[in-house]
Amino acid sequence: MNQILEKSIFEYSQPGRGALAQHPPGDDAAVLETLPSALRRRTPPRLPEVSELDAVRHFTRLSQLNFSIDTNFYPLGSCTMKYNPKACNQYAMLPEFLARHPLAPDTQGQGFLSCMFELQEMLKEVTGMKAVSLNPMAGAHGEFAGVAMIRAYHRARGDLARNEIIVPEAAHGTNPATATMCGCVVKEIPVDAQGDVDLDALAKAVGPNTAGIMLTNPSTLGVFERKIEAVAKLVHGAGGLLYYDGANLNAILGKVRPGDMGFDVIHMNLHKTFSTPHGGGGPGAGAVGVSARLEPFLPVPVVAREGSAYRWLSEADRPQSIGRLSAFMGNAGVLLRAYVYMRMLGREGMSRVGEFATLNANYLMARLREAGFDLAYPTRRASHEFIITLKRQARELNVTAMDVAKRLLDYGFHAPTTYFPLLVPECLLIEPTETESRETLDAFIEAMVAILGEAQTDAARLKGAPYTLPVRRLDDVRAAKQLELTWKPVNSAA
């Protein structure tokens, strides 16, 4: 990683400079005279005025300031930071795919549509659901679709009171946020000491207002929810539906399916389980799958095969649909990447994902426990991830999970997820994924051991970390207090 800070692109800018090869030919300025002057822009926007070389150099240098899968191990729990095959990118970016307009007729897109149809079919198979819509553009978007379908289902049955969504306290923030966004009321329930849902609490929580429950299994605690059948029975018995947050699907791919566990609706994070890249924040794709009773409510469009031809189904074909969640069809390019990935894995490869993700996590867990780290759920198997808690170190050595995370960066490893799930104090949620080799895991373990040693002998070293990155630890409090959200010509920082 580059360690030299890069100045702002605006500091390269000079009035009148520009990458002229990027301008369209000719001069059409006269056309502006057709605009009433009240509608015209008076001062040009502050976009950089730089040469193409300056732009390329600036953004190339910026890129080097990042950790990424392509350069670093990234054991970020709940995020499934596995290798993103280059082939997925290359074949999703074939010129014809890139050039296709979203409103081009289906006849001018049979190649693309056939991929989408087959992707729907494959997603049904791996999840055990009956129908799939590829429309949602991220996990949270899929959650929204799912809860909206649950509501639509109850509404269609005249069951209008059901507006409560139950979530375990370990749930990801998007779960309660989604429930609210769908106009529901969130009810949190606790988990027991083993990480399983507290069935008594659940039994008390369900009732005539229950719209449904949102669960991920394995849960965000890194363990498989063993009482899932009982949970399903309780919720269904109370008239609610079960929502499956697919963020952790990687753990069970080919081993067990949400549909078989009794879930009614599920979203998948294709940018996790199916290896599309995270792109420094996105895009993702949050396809949703449903049981038969929810199929009519799926968001449009959905691809159908009719004979040997494929076509989009729209609101006209699906009058009960919750509607449209994106202007067009969702993140097509992401879906193509997932399609390529799934086809390359095939049926055997798909099952191996769950197996080796689980093997890596359990190996890492065993080795870290042996090295003196405390596990949050020491009696449980790890799923594809597990939690260590630094509560003891925090108390005894005054070293926090954040300190360990920052120090790991100096060792060339991205930090695990910190402080999530919220209910485990000083936690690190560690997910190695199946694409990492034993040697990489061993090197990570070595670093963790070294850091534990430092914590014992020189805790200040950790507090000051990182040391070898482009910047030392950043002042988040100042960032939120003195808001500098855009670049200003006069350098206002210290």
Binding site: D28, Y74, E96, Q108, G281, A327, E348, R438, P470, L485
Partner: protein, 454 residues
């Protein structure tokens, strides 16, 4: 094994360390009754060579027609450098920059993006992207409800000149929270919001007025007057804009006396390929006073332990991972990579280049529309200024005519029959800077032929 590095020896060693007999034993907490033995419905794996060939064949099926489609997604020149850099592993395969020190590249880039997009829209603060243009309008509607403390109506005005797809997305999204949308009709002559229809809402408690500029028909609304009217009524103004057009059109921050309050739009025209509809990105900017109501991630500049400048995610207390059920939105993963492409695009074209793009689009569309208007059986629907789209009316059902053009490799426009039946046979056409005089001739010739032939 594809994408799995384990040798048999590795597996042995690892199982031994764990103390498990087999990999299968690691799944022993899963009720046996639920376990499956395989995924027969998935086809066998393909090598990269095979999938490459398959995808190339499928891509070829889709062809490369000459397209005059717009309606929210626009064909523009994309500099080669944009995706050469955007797909660098360090951008492409990085996660959300939660570990700021290890993500300065992405964070600084977002900060630069925020600077560019706020300047382009004339507002003060920006987030780091939303899913797309449609969902951005929906988020803006919900944000307006949160931000406008005085309004309790949960009612917004959304003219029919707003992209019908966006209106649908807004309905399916914000509708769940009980937000209501009143559709304001347009004037048949101008294709713009009917001021008289609007006047009917005077004095009512309405949270916000949505204004799309250029509107769905490509026509230019009288944004100053509309904004001032809405503000006078105590409404917020949500601007929905095309970013390319802002190189030459007045930015929402300057609409009317006070400027629009929230601005959103589809970022696709800024260096993002059409790609059948996504991934694109939604942008959103607003006034500083509403920053805490804004959904999505925001990057701030700060300093490190040694006082050096650096960048970090800030104001996270608005977001789901902190605020959970009370967050401004449930959005988590956004469209970062597309925002990255857009930032590089805006840098490469610069202010002058973006203006050239806008002018070229306007000029090509003006040329196309004036020539089409001369064909017998074709009429231009609306008078007044437009940007790079226009509605043309035909003397027979549009679908059949479009099919005829398609047979000649031309996508002649978007059929408005479903969304605007009152117009009769009507097609929305668009010509951007990518269209040459020869392209326009080809279209005009083919359309003339189609209308004469039948």
């Amino acid at each position: 094994m594809a994408f799995i590095p384990h040798t048999a020896a590795d597996v042995q060693h690892m199982l031994q360390t764990i103390g498990a007999e087999s990999i299968d034993a690691l799944f022993d907490e899963i009720p046996q009754s639920l376990r499956i033995q395989g995924l027969e419905g998935i086809p066998p794996g393909l090598s990269e060579m095979e999938i490459g060939r398959l995808m190339s064949e499928r891509a070829r099926l889709d062809g490369r027609p000459l397209s005059f489609l717009g309606a929210g997604a626009y064909e523009h020149h994309i500099p080669a450098a944009v995706w050469a850099i955007t797909t660098r592993g360090e951008f492409y395969s990085a996660y959300t920059p939660y570990q700021a020190e290890a993500s300065q590249g992405t964070l600084q880039l977002i900060h630069e993006y925020q600077t560019m997009i706020t300047s382009l829209t004339g507002l003060e603060v920006s987030n780091a992207s939303l899913y797309d243009g449609g969902s951005a309008v929906a988020e803006a509607a919900l944000m307006a409800v949160r931000a406008h403390r005085k309004s309790r109506s949960l009612r917004l005005l959304i003219p029919s000149t707003v992209n019908p797809s966006y209106r649908r997305v807004v309905q399916s999204t914000a509708g769940n929270q009980g937000v209501q949308f009143d559709t304001v009709p347009y004037l048949r002559e101008s294709g713009c919001i009917d001021p008289a229809a609007l006047e009917a809402y005077s004095g009512q408690d309405i949270t916000a007025l949505v204004i799309q500029q250029p509107n769905f028909f490509g026509q230019l609304e009288d944004v100053d007057r509309l904004t001032d009217w809405a503000h006078a009524q105590g409404m917020l103004v949500i601007a929905v804009v095309n970013p390319t057009s802002l190189a030459v059109l007045k930015p929402p921050g300057e609409w009317g006396t006070r400027g629009a309050d929230i601005c959103v739009g589809e970022g696709q025209p800024l260096g993002v390929p059409l790609s059948s509809g996504g991934p694109y990105f939604g942008f959103m900017t607003t006034r500083m006073e509403y920053v805490r109501s804004m959904p999505g991630r925001i990057v701030g500049r700060t300093v490190d332990l040694e006082g050096r400048p650096g960048y970090t995610l800030t104001l996270q207390a608005r977001e789901q991972h902190i605020r959970r059920g009370k967050a401004t939105s449930n959005i988590c993963t956004n469209q970062g990579l597309l925002m990255t492409a857009a930032t590089i695009y805006m840098t490469l074209v610069g202010p002058a280049g973006l203006a050239r793009v806008a002018e070229s689009c306007m000029a090509r569309t003006a040329e196309l529309v004036s020539t089409l208007g001369q064909i017998k059986g074709v009429r231009v629907a609306f008078a007044g200024s437009r940007f790079h789209e226009a509605v043309v009316l035909l003397d027979r059902p549009a679908a059949a005519v479009l099919r005829q053009l398609e047979a000649q490799g031309i996508l002649g426009g978007v059929d408005l029959a479903a969304d605007y039946p009152e117009l009769g046979p009507a097609v929305l056409v668009c010509a951007t800077e990518t269209k040459t005089a020869g392209d326009l001739d080809r279209y005009v010739g083919a359309l003339r032929h189609a209308l004469e032939a039948a």
